[in-house]
Amino acid sequence: MIKFHPSPQQITEFVVGSLTPAVSLLVSAHCDMCEQCQMRIESETESLAADMVLEIEESFDESAQFGDMLSQITQAPSSIESDARTSKETSSFKEKSVTIELDGRAFKLPRTLHRYIDKTGNWSSLVGKLWQAPVDLGNQGVANFIFMGSGGSVPEHTHRGTEYTLVIDGEFSDGLANYDTGDFIFMDGNKTHTPKSDTKEGCLVFSIVDQPLHFTSGLARLLNPFSHLFFR
């Protein structure tokens, strides 16, 4: 069951469109999996739309402002035919890429992330049962799919910046809480945690960090001088 959701402020900023694109991606993917947040988004959108409708200057002279915009717009044809063509062309593509694969297992991704399957690099082994595949977000930085095999663990770390994690498939715990498929997790510099999956199936997460992680114990401390190379 999903227990961790975006905050009310994150929901509002998401609907306004002012949340950063990378975090928006995670909120959107969470909503694909969470009916409760879909409803929050819907009602927030309605209320912001209602606010927009109220925003009008009383002494507004329409004719002077909009000139021939109206006649320009209505010269264009309906897009119904070109849309039908486009969706025909892309439908075969859409059908085949809704999963990512690791070790013979296919994981179905939420709708929002489908377009990023082709932007996902190869899996590489981080340590032990931990696998990582980077996702290119253009100028927005790099996100990662991280797979924790059964018993696999990310070395204990804290954050200089922020870390957003969405559980795509499976369960894990980090010493602070237990997380399940669909959970939306936000971590900042105040928290130190050790993500670990104990279930047989392991756990796939999608994660975005804006600053390198800071490892706090074990072999992983050797990584700190170079952690910007791992988690960018």
């Binding site: 912001l48 739309a49 200057e57 897009s79 119904i80 981080l126 050797l222 170079f226």
Partner: protein, 203 residues
Amino acid sequence: MLVGIPLEQSNSTIKPKECATEMSEYLVAVADARCKRSFSRVFNYFAPRLRSYALKQMGNEALAMELVQDTMSNVWQKAHLFNAEKGSPSTWIFTIARNIRFDMLRKLQNRKEDVCSDDLWPVLCEQTADLNEAPLDEQVTLEQIGYMFEALPVKQKAVIEAIYIDGKSQQEVANELSIPLGTVKSRTRLALQRLKGMLNDND
């Protein structure tokens, strides 16, 4: 065709509830019959509202007008995608405007194709997916770091291991190995330099 609504009716006197029903009917008429009169009602009601909303958000008259034009163009061309059962006309038009603004802002910041509004809010999602794939940087893995670590001279390795893996202080390491603190410091520095060098070669 919808008739009986006087053209000179002032927009601001329409109450939101009845307005939603009216506007829905106009949008349906645009979708089914390409009715320009119905569209002009929708336009006259929403364009000024969109403009003040956009002006507040973008703080720039030209950009605000661009947003109004793009939004209303989409309403005209994609009216068939409006579904009254899913939400009110104002909610639909608001989401179109929000999406266009989101993409406009990214363009202004010179961001190429990265995260686009259709991924987040697929309100008009009949767009072709972007298949261009940017080359990915080579990733350094823990495994590689492990190899590099193994390649360090024995004395440097011992110091790095004690400090970074066992978490000992430089003074503790000096005591344990019975070497001066300065030597520990210089070995640490040399080892890190060496690792950095290896990482650069790796690129």
